[in-house]
């Protein structure tokens, strides 16, 4: 018997078609993954099942939960179902909880909303539920506030809120996308266990096929608001009838072939670097404390080398990146690029910076929306003593844009006219235009869809060959680092715990932390006959 049935569900928002004839079922106790790239309509499908659609949304077709058609129910009937029969978990645990209410209060609220019981009883049940999701009362009492918990712990609270009433269906919308790999593995285990124990249907929305490949019973692949393929996980992965499914899988496990590294002596040298932050004073007149975010880090990046830096959030990756760019002063140690210090006096050494550029993660936030592309990508020219003008400037713009696969005519557009992948190409053009020796990629492909990510990785390979570039590739995504780097550094709690040739580290990790990281990272099953 089907628990949830979507039957020919179409959705438009202000006459813009979002979903087209979506049809699938979820049985009780079944884990169903809905996957697809951004804009495929997977999140809207989840919100439609909750009937929590934005204003101006119009639906046709049917959504049946048990024997009730949700599209025919009144708002107050729906409020009786949400949280009670359908629970939902969201992507961003940092913002999904009310910051001014305790976790106990927020979990108990679900219970108090749907049953007549005393506050004390609801509190007791909230404590039980929190214990069940791995937050025991001795360490996480009900009186904790969300800001006192880590991202993974907050996601557990959100899950506790969703399952407090033992709903029949749990919808999880990218529940682990914002989490570190080791935390992700724990949360996925928890969701699977809860679904199995309670015989609950679980709809997992995710863009990452590797995440669901070994937990889902069935996979539904969506594109542009339509279901293109669905089936049992094993069968679907074996057969893959639809070309889009094949493309998605190929892109997820996309591997590039790096050109031979012609390492010719050190380019970036980091020796014994420490970076401290002041922590607030503990007494009125006491000395402020220190937090060492980067502790005694030393490594060398050779000219022509592609070096990776992996680690989980809070390990000091970003702090180290800022220090490398000369944006902050370090408390100990030296950082030199081709023998020159990156930080002189009390400011970045601009003479060094022209040889080192950076590409950031967010293709939407890292551009000034009021400037045209030409102005954005020529920004680094201020680092040059004699920046090109007139025809030479135009030629540099044309070349940079062509090199990253855009057209010279794109120079006159604004960034909002481009997709995420194209914007990341513009960011690369901006880094490339002054012909640096080294480019830092700070999570540069993490926000991109898999197919776009594959294209950008290919572009990076072409560029490093054509422009004789060295890369420092900073990422939490192990599969990307594995394919795009020659050598890798593993960072934990501000220290580099392991370094070595990328393949060696991945196949035979030495440090226990590296082993944990690699084991926790979700991998796609090997499928024959698939190459990107």
């Amino acid at each position: 018997m089907n628990l949830l049935s979507l039957n020919n569900l179409s959705l438009s928002i202000h006459n813009f078609q979002i979903l087209k004839g979506v049809t699938f079922d979820i049985a009780a106790g079944e884990i169903v993954a809905v996957t697809g790239e951004s804009g495929s309509g997977k999140s809207m499908t989840a919100l439609a099942a909750m009937q929590l659609l934005p204003q101006g949304a119009e639906t046709t077709g049917h959504i049946t939960l048990g024997d009730q058609d949700l599209t025919t129910l009144t708002e107050s009937q729906l409020c009786g179902i949400r949280g009670n029969e359908i629970g939902m978990v969201f992507q961003e645990p940092m913002t999904a909880l009310n910051p001014v209410k305790t976790i106990g209060n927020q979990v108990a609220e679900t219970i108090l909303l749907h049953e007549r019981t005393s506050k004390a009883e609801a509190g007791k049940r909230a404590a039980e539920t929190l214990t069940r999701v791995g937050l025991p009362q001795d360490r996480f009492p009900l009186s904790r506030f969300p800001h006192e918990l880590s991202g993974g712990q907050r996601q557990r609270v959100v899950i506790a809120m969703a399952i407090a009433r033992h709903p029949r269906l749990l919808i999880a919308d990218e529940p682990t996308t914002a989490l570190d790999v080791t935390t992700q593995a724990q949360i996925l285990d928890l969701l699977t266990r809860l679904a199995r124990e309670d015989g609950m249907g679980l709809m997992m929305i995710t863009h990452d096929l590797a995440v669901v490949a070994d937990m889902a019973d069935r996979i539904i692949v969506m594109r542009n608001g339509e279901v293109v393929e669905q089936g049992e996980t094993k069968t679907l992965l074996r057969e893959m009838h639809h070309p889009y499914t094949r493309m998605l899988f190929a892109a997820s496990s996309h591997k590039v072939t790096l050109p031979e590294s012609r390492a010719t002596g050190p380019l970036l040298e980091v020796k014994g670097v420490c970076r401290d932050y002041r922590t607030p004073r503990t007494t009125f007149f006491g000395q402020p404390g220190h937090f060492r975010a980067v502790n005694n880090v030393s490594f060398t990046l050779n000219r022509g080398e592609r070096l990776g830096l992996v680690g989980e959030s809070g390990c000091g990756k970003s702090t180290l990146t800022r220090a490398l760019l000369g944006l902050e002063q370090v408390q100990k140690g030296t950082i030199t690029l081709a023998g020159e210090p990156v930080f002189t006096g009390n400011k970045p050494n601009l003479a060094v910076r022209r040889h080192m550029q950076v590409v950031f993660q967010d293709p939407f936030g890292s551009f000034n929306p009021r400037h045209r592309v030409a102005r954005q990508i020529t920004e680094p020219f201020h680092l040059l003593d004699d920046p090109p003008t007139g025809a030479a400037r135009q030629k540099a713009i044309d070349e940079a844009l062509t090199a990253v696969g855009l057209k010279p005519s794109d120079a006159n557009k604004y960034v909002h006219e481009f997709s995420g992948g194209q914007r990341q190409r513009i960011a690369i053009a901006r880094a490339l235009i002054i012909r640096p020796d080294l480019i830092l990629f700070d999570e540069a492909v993490s926000a991109l869809d898999v197919s776009v990510r594959a294209q950008i990785l290919d572009l990076l390979v072409d560029l490093c060959a054509a422009y004789d570039l060295s890369y420092l590739f900073i990422s939490h995504d192990l599969s990307v680092v594995r394919t795009i780097t020659d050598r890798v550094l593993v960072m934990k709690s501000g220290e580099i715990v392991e370094q070595g040739a990328t393949e060696d580290v991945f196949t035979a990790p030495q440090h226990p932390y590296t082993k944990t990281l690699i084991e926790a990272a979700p991998v796609l099953p090997e499928i024959q006959g698939l190459t990107a």
């Binding site: 107050s76 909880l97 910051p99």
Partner: protein
């Protein structure tokens, strides 16, 4: 929470000390000698010297600063140069008008603004929202003295519910006094309410767009329950900031309204003292107002911490 409060308190004391120095210095450099102003152009040097010594103007500046601060701390604000009465007495009299008026206006403005802002936010983009926003636009644009004149025309002259001006005093109990403060309070409150309602609405809309509101809805709360239980308290920080600023403004900034309604308030006192070069009064009233502003900020800081647990944790 205690650490946070102590820290705010320390910052309050430091601010007051700095403010007193600045006020003293500014008044000192202001040209014009009060003694010669009081005695006129043709005063004898001996009379002038005598008066200067009587007013305490003949000692060194640090001594005068310390005497002034010491006096303030013990409730002795000095004697007015022009009226020859203790400044403390004059200020107390005026405070009995200005403080109730400010509180009255603030209460009214909050009572109008909260429901209006919440109503508009809950009906974003619909007729109710557009109506409220239009009204607040008008409230912000129209100056309060114009409201004051319209109120006098309607309620004092036409309907004869209130008197057109003057202050009845507190000697006959609170009602006559409050009655004479009602029209001025309404006139002061309307523009403030318009601003506060807009702040309330936009703060609430920001919060309603947050992820945790969607989480609350997914638990089964109605849109209205989500707004009241999860939205309102989170929207309070910007609203409290504006309330703090408005109270400080209302305490002394009601001068035009005091003029229109002929109320003996602090605003008028300070205006008259400046015209008469009665610097000791100017100095003391300014210091008092600074104290009020800093104290209100302190109270607002404590209110922030009461609303938001994250601030309590931060030291």
């Amino acid at each position: 929470m205690l650490r946070y409060s102590l820290k705010r308190l320390l910052s309050l004391v430091i601010s007051l000390a700095v403010a007193s120095l600045v006020i003293f210095a500014v008044i000192e450099v202001a040209p014009g000698d009060p003694a010669s102003f009081m005695l006129g152009m043709n005063a004898q040097p001996e009379t002038l010297a005598a008066l200067r010594s009587e007013l305490g103007l003949d000692v060194s500046k640090p001594e005068r600063y310390l005497a002034w601060i010491g006096g303030m701390l013990t409730g002795d604000f000095g004697t007015s140069y022009t009226y020859r009465t203790p400044v403390a007495e004059m200020v107390t009299q005026r405070l009995w008008v200005s403080l109730p008026l400010a509180l009255y206006a603030l209460t009214l403005s909050t009572l109008i603004a909260f429901p209006a802002g919440i109503y508009a936010a809950a009906r974003r983009g619909r007729a109710g929202d557009i109506g409220v926003m239009g009204a607040t636009q008008l409230g912000v644009a129209v100056p309060n003295f114009w409201f004051a004149m319209m109120l006098v025309l309607l309620f004092a002259i036409k309907l004869r519910w209130f008197s057109a001006g003057g202050f009845a005093g507190w000697q006959d109990g609170p009602w006559p006094a409050l009655r004479s403060l009602t029209l001025p309070a309404v006139a002061l409150a309307l523009p403030q309410a318009a601003i506060l309602a807009r702040v309330m609405r936009s703060a609430l809309l920001d919060v309603l767009g947050e992820d945790f509101i969607r989480t609350a809805r997914a638990k089964g709360l109605t849109a209205r329950q989500a707004l009241w239980r999860h939205g309102l308290r989170n929207a309070m920080i910007p609203v409290l900031t504006i309330i703090g600023l408005q109270f400080s403004f209302l305490l002394a900034g009601g001068i035009i309204i005091e003029q229109v309604f002929y109320l003996p308030g602090l605003g008028r006192l300070i205006f008259q003292s400046i015209s008469a070069r009665d610097l000791i009064v100017v100095e003391s009233v300014t210091m008092l107002l600074v104290f009020a502003v800093i104290f209100v900020n302190f109270a607002v800081d404590l209110a922030y911490a009461a609303v938001d647990p994250r601030l309590r944790a931060r030291t």
